[in-house]
């Protein structure tokens, strides 16, 4: 068997994807103009697939902070925190994030993926039981491959399914570690966190919540779902990323666990990779200040979400179950999703296409992510374009058009 033979099925699927003439996995942004516009294939495109929820990638104060940091401390750290030392700013960033959550400790990682990978696989060790939501992000699944713990999946967003699995463990020894996400990245739905926490408390389980898509978006201070559902104190570990709302790159974990700092010499994805460069640390620190100072960005984000979600629902599109900064549009199959995506690109709008096996339950989706700085006109234009394509591809018919708002 050749090295690549095992990917025969995937190669075939990938070939299908490319039949439209564009490869969604190798889109080139020739020039990014702003959080909502870029030149792709020589044309100005509206970007609705960037995870740039607050549009902070071009925030002048964040950009200035990054530039200043480069002038002061250079372009990179050229080593890991453990082997090569921390910069004062790494430590300051950790303190600021810990304060933001009102937690005692914070550890910053080079990406959110590495934060999940390292933390989850280290926290749950031999003899422990790790329980994860079926729709967990790849970083959580990959942690499951690395952990020595026993891993069991429960049904997506279903506290009773988690409870059944905790109950079945009975009085077996070992820590129970439950991993949840604030907002799920494909359909934009959020976890019933309070109900999950109740179950975890009942069975004495530790809780890790990944707020990757909810940082900034949820909670009166933008701390995420743990804040909006009032359970920050009940979450043993909160993980997140700097690569979405904060417009840069990096990951973090906050916690009140007294011995938290031992993770700095046990989590391999922290120890054996280079630390964040000064420019990133500086822009993230500034972005966190912007999140605190400008709650109107959150209001604007949700108002844009409502415009897009309700607009598409009214046209008869089948969407994710609730409003969220990610709006997932269900399409009947992989080829329709890819055709739809390509037609959107031709019409000057960039969104993401998500097809099995990267999606839950084998669904095919157009994944749109909303930005606080999208204008109402941009989103209304998008709804119009999608309606046209939807009719052309037979995804919307006259019958569904009459069922105003009946999209579930």
């Amino acid at each position: 068997m050749g090295l690549f033979d095992r990917y025969a099925g995937l190669l075939e699927a990938y070939r299908d994807v490319r039949t439209t003439g564009y490869d969604p996995f190798q889109i080139r942004m020739e020039r990014v103009l702003s959080p909502t516009e870029a030149i792709i294939n020589g044309r100005k495109m509206l970007l609705v697939g960037t995870n740039n929820y607050f549009g902070l990638t071009f925030d002048p104060s964040c950009m200035e902070a990054a530039i200043e940091a480069i002038r002061a401390e250079g372009t990179g750290t050229t080593g890991s925190r453990i082997a090569n030392g921390s910069y004062t700013e790494h430590v300051a960033l950790e303190q600021e994030i810990a304060e933001f959550y009102g937690k005692k400790h914070c550890m910053v990682f080079t990406t959110g993926y590495q934060a999940n990978l390292g933390l989850i696989s280290t926290l749950a060790g031999e003899g422990d039981q790790l329980l994860i939501d079926a729709d967990s992000h790849a970083s959580i699944y990959d942690a499951c491959k690395m952990t020595q713990a026993e891993v069991v999946r429960f049904k997506h967003n279903d506290p009773s399914s988690l409870e059944a699995r905790l109950r079945r463990l009975g009085d077996r020894p070992g820590n129970r570690v439950v991993v949840l996400e604030g907002i799920y990245s494909m359909l934009g739905d959020s976890a019933p966190l309070r109900e999950f926490i109740d179950v975890c408390k009942k069975y004495g389980a530790y809780v890790i919540v990944d707020e990757a898509h909810s940082l900034g978006a949820l909670g009166d201070n933008g701390r995420g779902l743990c804040e909006s559902t009032g359970v920050i104190d009940d979450c043993h570990f909160i993980v997140g990323t700097f690569s979405k709302t904060l417009g840069a790159i990096g990951g973090y974990c906050v916690s009140d666990e007294p011995d938290f700092d031992i993770l700095r010499v046990t989590v391999r994805s922290y120890m054996f990779t280079a630390s964040l460069p000064p420019s990133i640390v500086a822009s993230v620190r500034q972005a966190l200040k912007v999140v605190k100072a400008k709650p109107e960005l959150r209001t604007q984000l949700w108002s844009n979400v409502a415009t897009l979600y309700e607009g598409l629902a009214a046209k008869g599109f089948k969407l994710g179950p609730e409003h969220g900064p990610v709006v997932g549009v269900h399409l009947p199959d992989r080829m329709t999703a890819i055709g739809f995506w390509r037609a959107m690109l031709d019409a000057g709008i960039y969104v993401n296409v998500a097809v099995p096996p990267a999606t839950p339950n084998g669904v095919s989706l157009l994944r749109c992510s909303v930005c606080a700085v999208h204008t109402k006109e941009q989103l209304e234009h998008m709804i119009e374009v999608m309606t046209g394509i939807g009719r052309q591809l037979g995804v919307l018919d006259d019958r569904t058009l009459r069922v105003v708002g009946g999209a579930r």
Binding site: A134, E150, V151, R153, K155, P357, G362
Partner: protein, 136 residues
């Protein structure tokens, strides 16, 4: 004391009837290992009851697995104990994990992901389920 059971043994399109008379312990192992259903018994013993309730009969387990796998069957080839789930059927790895979740709830057991990774055939999946049911 010996007990007798009549067993209907399905193989492909044929079905065989056995009358088995043995000690309860031996009967239990017959029930656990064959792809079949008990049809009648001459007086239930505790052992048989345990095989039926805490342990699941092999037939029941196989039938439940096949119910989930049927939509992924290819052509005329029947699903048997030797069917390699990920290879002989059109089911992808995510759908296998989702099926496992359904089986877990049906039998009220949990099958850890690392155990699932070692399972290739329908028989191996049934073995695992029976083993976990017996341990409940």
């Amino acid at each position: 004391m010996k007990h007798g059971v009549t067993i209907c043994h399905f193989t492909r399109n044929r079905c065989f009837w056995h009358k088995v008379t043995a000690h309860p312990r031996a009967l239990e192992s017959v029930l656990r290992t064959a792809h079949q259903m008990i049809v009648e018994t001459d007086g239930m013993t505790d052992t048989l009851e345990r095989a039926r309730v805490s342990g699941q009969s092999r037939g029941e387990v196989i039938r439940e697995i096949c119910r989930h796998l049927a939509p992924f069957q290819t052509g005329e080839r029947p699903i048997t104990g030797g069917t390699v789930i990920a290879k002989d059927l059109t089911i992808d790895s995510l759908a296998i994990m989702d099926m496992v979740m359904e089986l877990e709830d049906h039998f009220d057991i949990s099958i850890p992901m690392n155990v699932v990774a070692e399972i290739h055939t329908v028989d191996q999946l049934a073995d695992t389920i029976q083993k976990l049911c017996a341990r409940r």
